[in-house]
């Protein structure tokens, strides 16, 4: 139910923002060349990302996240769980067939908060009043007839007849009769998520600050993330150091191509995650195993990228270099390698992405430190705020790696796509 409300709200906000921003910015569009294009549907170059939409999109995520977790960062919230005093009356019948009414009073309190039970006044008749405490989001079993004498049983709640398995709605909750005649009182839960399912944004921030200051599981946050990055870099560098020469050899020699083609083509579609069990059997769960795994993840991607880079050299460039008197070594150094750099960079970006994903997965399986270890350890203790913080950091680092690779590419291969 909460999911459907969330989706409906998200769609509503999407549409409202689109219409709203459209109205506000009408007449203030840019008057550049693209604005004069009449055909924009299907012209990819005319589709420019609306940056206002990007900003609102991120804000909406935090707004909904806050609204559904009772966060203090958002002004509005969906209804939360009922907290406070409540009660209902029930009718009991004793063995002699007499009927009597009694009251049940309860206090719903946030879990972890110490509260006192409401004062009990037993009342008149054989059915005595009851009191109890219920944690928010929880339910509580009330054996209301326990103090009502031998053979008494509940026949109605708030005047409505009730039988085992049936539910009666009361103010701010429901009462369900169990097969054994007890009353299960479930206060209204509202639509907010409990912290162990989805913590509020500020809890995630607090977890981040706490771990940044105090560390987690014997290692600082910097060490956890740093170790993941070191593993990725080590695996990637080794994979590139072997894969690029291998790819060049495959691109330059028929024998190498023929020899390694079956191996590379077979290994390429094997997901690195599928290699984790074998790598653990062979190399153990420590650093060697992880670096071997990442090496294998990067190796085939880099080999294929380098091979494609060599195949992609325009033959006229090679011919030109030969007729300018260049030797084979000079052609490799001055023509083939620079010409394959764009392909190698594309491969490197893919490989870094795959390695980052693989290292997190490998750390989920077994590790003492690392981003993946941090979130799997936290999940075992239901520390959802740390899990979410870890996922956000993993995402940010992966995004950061890609941005750095792109910057390096622009700097080192400025001619890419312009020949």
């Amino acid at each position: 139910m909460t999911g459907i409300i969330l989706l409906a709200l998200y769609v509503a906000l999407f549409v409202a923002a689109m219409v709203g921003v459209g109205l506000v910015t009408r007449g203030r569009e840019k008057h550049d060349f693209t604005a004069l294009k009449t055909v924009t549907f299907g012209d990819e170059s005319a589709v420019r990302p609306n940056r206002i939409a990007s900003v609102i999109s991120v804000l909406v995520i935090f707004l909904l996240w806050g609204a559904f977790t009772g966060s203090s960062i958002t002004p509005i919230h969906v209804p939360g769980p009922f907290v406070g005093e409540g009660g209902f009356s029930y009718t009991a019948r004793d063995a002699a067939g007499q009927e009597d009414d009694a009251e049940v009073r309860f206090t719903v309190h946030p879990v972890g908060e110490a509260v006192e039970e409401p004062a009990l006044e037993e009342g008149e008749g054989f059915a005595k009043n009851d009191v109890g405490l219920i944690g928010a989001y929880r339910s509580e079993l009330f054996r209301v007839v326990a103090n009502d004498g031998e053979g008494a049983e509940v026949i109605a709640v708030n005047g409505q007849a009730i039988a085992p398995g049936e539910t009666v709605a009361i103010e701010n909750g429901t009462v369900t009769m169990t097969p054994r005649g007890s009353l299960n009182v479930a206060p209204a839960r509202g639509f907010q998520m409990e912290s162990i399912w989805l913590p509020a944004p500020e809890e995630v921030v607090a977890a981040f600050i706490d771990i940044a200051v105090n560390g987690y599981q014997n290692f600082t946050l910097f060490e956890h993330l740093g170790w993941s990055l070191i593993r990725v870099l080590a695996g990637f560098v080794l994979g590139a150091a072997v894969g690029i020469p291998l790819g060049y050899a495959m691109g330059l020699s028929g024998w190498f191509r023929g020899w390694f083609d079956p191996i590379v083509e077979f290994m390429r579609p094997v997901p690195p995650l599928a290699l984790i069990p074998l790598v653990i059997i062979w190399f153990g769960i420590w650093e060697t195993g992880k670096i071997v795994l990442l090496f294998l993840a990067a190796l085939w991607i880099m080999a294929i990228a380098a091979r494609a880079g060599v195949s992609g050299v325009n033959i006229t460039k090679i011919h030109a270099a030969y007729s300018l008197g260049a030797s084979k070594a000079q052609i490799l150094r001055h023509v083939i390698i620079p010409n394959s750099l764009p392909e190698i960079f594309t491969g490197a970006r893919v490989a870094m992405g795959v390695c980052w994903g693989t290292v997190v997965a490998a750390e989920l399986v077994a590790a003492q430190k690392g981003a993946g270890m941090m979130i799997i350890a936290a999940s075992k203790f239901q520390l959802t705020q740390i899990v979410i913080m870890g996922i956000i950091l993993i995402g940010l680092i992966g995004y950061g790696i890609d941005i750095l690779m792109r910057k390096a590419e622009d700097w080192l291969v400025p001619w890419k796509g312009r020949s």
Partner: protein, 267 residues
């Protein structure tokens, strides 16, 4: 013996389906030093194959090629090549492209800088020396290709439709530049083209090749290249003989094309 000599070259290779192609049959030619020869012919007549054999990229199945008395067995700096497009190195500046040949030979920096400065000046690229290749227009890129080839000081320059990808106006300017460079450097040049006008303008000698098998069909000796060195090329084109020759060669090639079409349709 100086000059380029091509003796009874044939080129025949097998196809995967069991057939074979006779790309060239018994081509014999000799060029003296400093000669400018253009080669014309319908598509599939083997003119690019011939050029690639002279460049040393392909080996003929029969016949011998010699340059200044020694056999041609592979590519070498003595035979420079100018391609239609895509042969420049995008990762180098204009200057580095021009200096590529001398640098590979190990010429020292100052010498090759002097050389590239001179060549970039005479090709009209003095203001673009440090630009990246992708910042230049197609015409300017071909000027770089010419300068790069000349920087290596080859004995023979082979041009494979060097102006084919340029627009008409740029092409005309570049034709003037080719003539100017030919006269100034005195290089032996073989130029392949699709354009009859260009072949007439840029050939002391003009060879028309015929297809299937590729062979020399006719040879002309023409005055237009010599005339074009000093005169406006548009004036050269107005010479009465120019028009006559153009029509003659056009109809010759036209007939060959018709014949090819007919043969394919009957096959």
């Amino acid at each position: 013996m100086t000059g380029l000599s091509i003796e009874s070259i044939s080129m025949r290779f097998d196809l995967p389906n069991g057939g074979h192609v006779q790309a060239l049959q018994d081509v014999t030619l000799s060029l003296r030093e400093g000669e400018l020869m253009s080669v014309l012919g319908p598509s599939g007549c083997g003119k690019t194959t011939l050029l690639n054999i002279v460049a040393g990229f392909l080996a003929p199945t029969e016949g011998v090629l010699t340059l200044n008395g020694h056999r041609i067995t592979g590519p070498d700096a003595e035979r420079g090549m100018v391609f239609q497009q895509g042969a420049l190195f995008e990762w180098m500046s204009v200057r580095d492209n021009v200096e590529f040949g001398p640098r590979m030979k190990g010429m020292d920096v100052n010498q090759r800088r002097e050389k590239s400065d001179h060549l970039l000046d005479i090709t009209g690229l003095q203001d673009f020396k440090e630009k990246a290749i992708y910042e230049l227009s197609g015409g300017m890129q071909q000027r770089v290709a010419l300068a790069r080839c000349l920087a290596n000081d080859p004995d023979v320059i082979l041009m494979d439709e060097p102006l084919g990808a340029l627009d008409a106006l740029t092409r005309e300017k570049m034709q003037g530049l080719v003539l100017k460079l030919w006269k100034e450097t005195g290089k032996t040049i073989i130029l392949i083209t699709h354009s009859v006008e260009e072949a007439l303008l840029l050939g002391e000698r003009l060879i028309v090749m015929a297809p299937r098998p590729g062979r020399i069909h006719r040879e002309y000796r023409l005055p237009f290249a010599e005339a074009g060195v000093d005169a406006d090329l548009r004036e050269v084109k107005k010479m009465p003989d120019f028009g006559v020759k153009r029509e003659e060669i056009l109809s010759m090639i036209w007939e060959m094309e018709e014949e090819i079409m007919g043969r394919t349709e009957n096959a």
